[in-house]
């Protein structure tokens, strides 16, 4: 393949813009190993596109930088914790094990606590009324025996 024609075919520009197909990229890799001039050309096109991009740069909002810096600090804290150089950091895994856990709304916590408290109250009342019922039943069982005993005592006195 004629090197000059290959370079002027636009393949390098296509590669730098990310439009080359995987086959074209493989071919370019092969060619740049054979011909160092191609590497020089790639470098020149990369720098042209870089100049173009910097010429019309638009500063992202400060909030975006803060988010990036925050991630850097998190990573730094994580690395320090791993190496044990700073034990003041705790890592919370926000991406839990999705296969074995579920996520529910916070109102379910109140509902669950209320359910537990109510179940305790009902259990207490059930035991209380059971004991009272048992006491009354015993009293009721004892009452006819007492009346008979009194009648017997009264008739023997007469």
């Amino acid at each position: 393949m004629d090197l000059k024609n290959y370079i002027s075919s636009g393949i390098i520009e296509s590669y730098v813009l990310g439009l080359a197909t995987p086959d074209e990229e493989r071919e370019l890799e092969k060619m740049r190993r054979l011909f160092p001039e191609i590497n020089t050309e790639i470098d020149a096109v990369e720098r042209s596109v870089e100049r173009l991009a910097f010429a019309e740069a638009v500063m992202p909002p400060m909030e975006t930088r803060s988010r990036v810096v925050q991630r850097i600090e998190w990573n730094e804290g994580y690395n320090n914790t791993k190496t044990g150089s700073n034990t003041n950091f705790y890592n919370i895994n926000l991406n839990g094990d999705h296969q074995n856990s579920i996520t529910v709304h916070k109102w379910w916590r109140i509902a669950f606590v209320s359910l537990v408290v109510l179940s305790k109250i009902f259990l207490f009342l059930a035991i209380l009324y059971y004991l009272k019922f048992k006491q009354i039943a015993e009293q009721a069982a004892q009452t006819p025996a007492k009346v008979e005993q009194q009648q017997v005592q009264q008739s023997s006195v007469r």
């Binding site: 010429a55 740069a57 990036v68």
Partner: protein, 172 residues
């Protein structure tokens, strides 16, 4: 930020990024974010999405910088430029596939690449925009335009030859 970290060359910057230096990571953001943000904005069209893509792009850089060394790119910026375009295009593809607007070309502002595209003939312009801004593969463009994939490939190659001429007269 330390003064000696501000003016380091790209080779040293890459080495420090590989070592996971936080100051180098901030420096990389300060150096490249604006140029990449402009590219992403041209593709996705709204600032919130562009901000998210920039955050994800730099997170990717900090965790995958070793990939740059085997990427074949000579400059870190070119590698980031490609990655930024990929992220933006993937986002646009997911939006367009959900809203059935695969041929929408309305999001791009008038950036330098757009100005170059306007110098192309109608067919080249359409193929280039669908490929560069919308990230469609040649097969999808061929289907969309009712042409052979080989024909679309030739049109895109012609557009790239014109791009080569364009940058040699405008940006070198």
């Amino acid at each position: 930020m330390q003064q000696d970290n501000v003016h380091i060359n790209e080779h040293e910057l890459v080495n420090q990024l590989l070592a996971g230096q936080p100051l180098a990571q901030q420096l990389a953001y300060d150096k490249y974010a604006a140029a990449l943000y402009s590219l992403v904005l041209q593709i996705v069209g709204d600032t919130d999405t562009a901000n998210n893509i920039i955050v994800n792009l730099f997170s990717y850089l900090f965790t995958h910088v070793q990939e740059f060394q085997s990427s074949g790119y000579n400059t870190l910026f070119s590698w980031l430029y490609r990655k930024a375009r990929e992220l933006a295009v993937n986002h646009s593809l997911s939006i367009t596939s959900n809203s059935s607007q695969a041929t929408s070309l309305t999001r791009q502002n008038l950036g330098a690449i757009q100005r170059f595209a306007s110098t192309l003939n109608e067919a080249e312009q359409l193929v280039f925009k669908l490929s560069y801004f919308n990230g469609l593969p040649l097969s999808a463009i061929a289907k969309l335009m009712g042409k052979e994939e080989k024909e679309i490939d030739l049109i895109l190659k012609s557009a790239m030859i014109n791009f080569r001429k364009y940058i040699s007269t405008h940006w070198i």
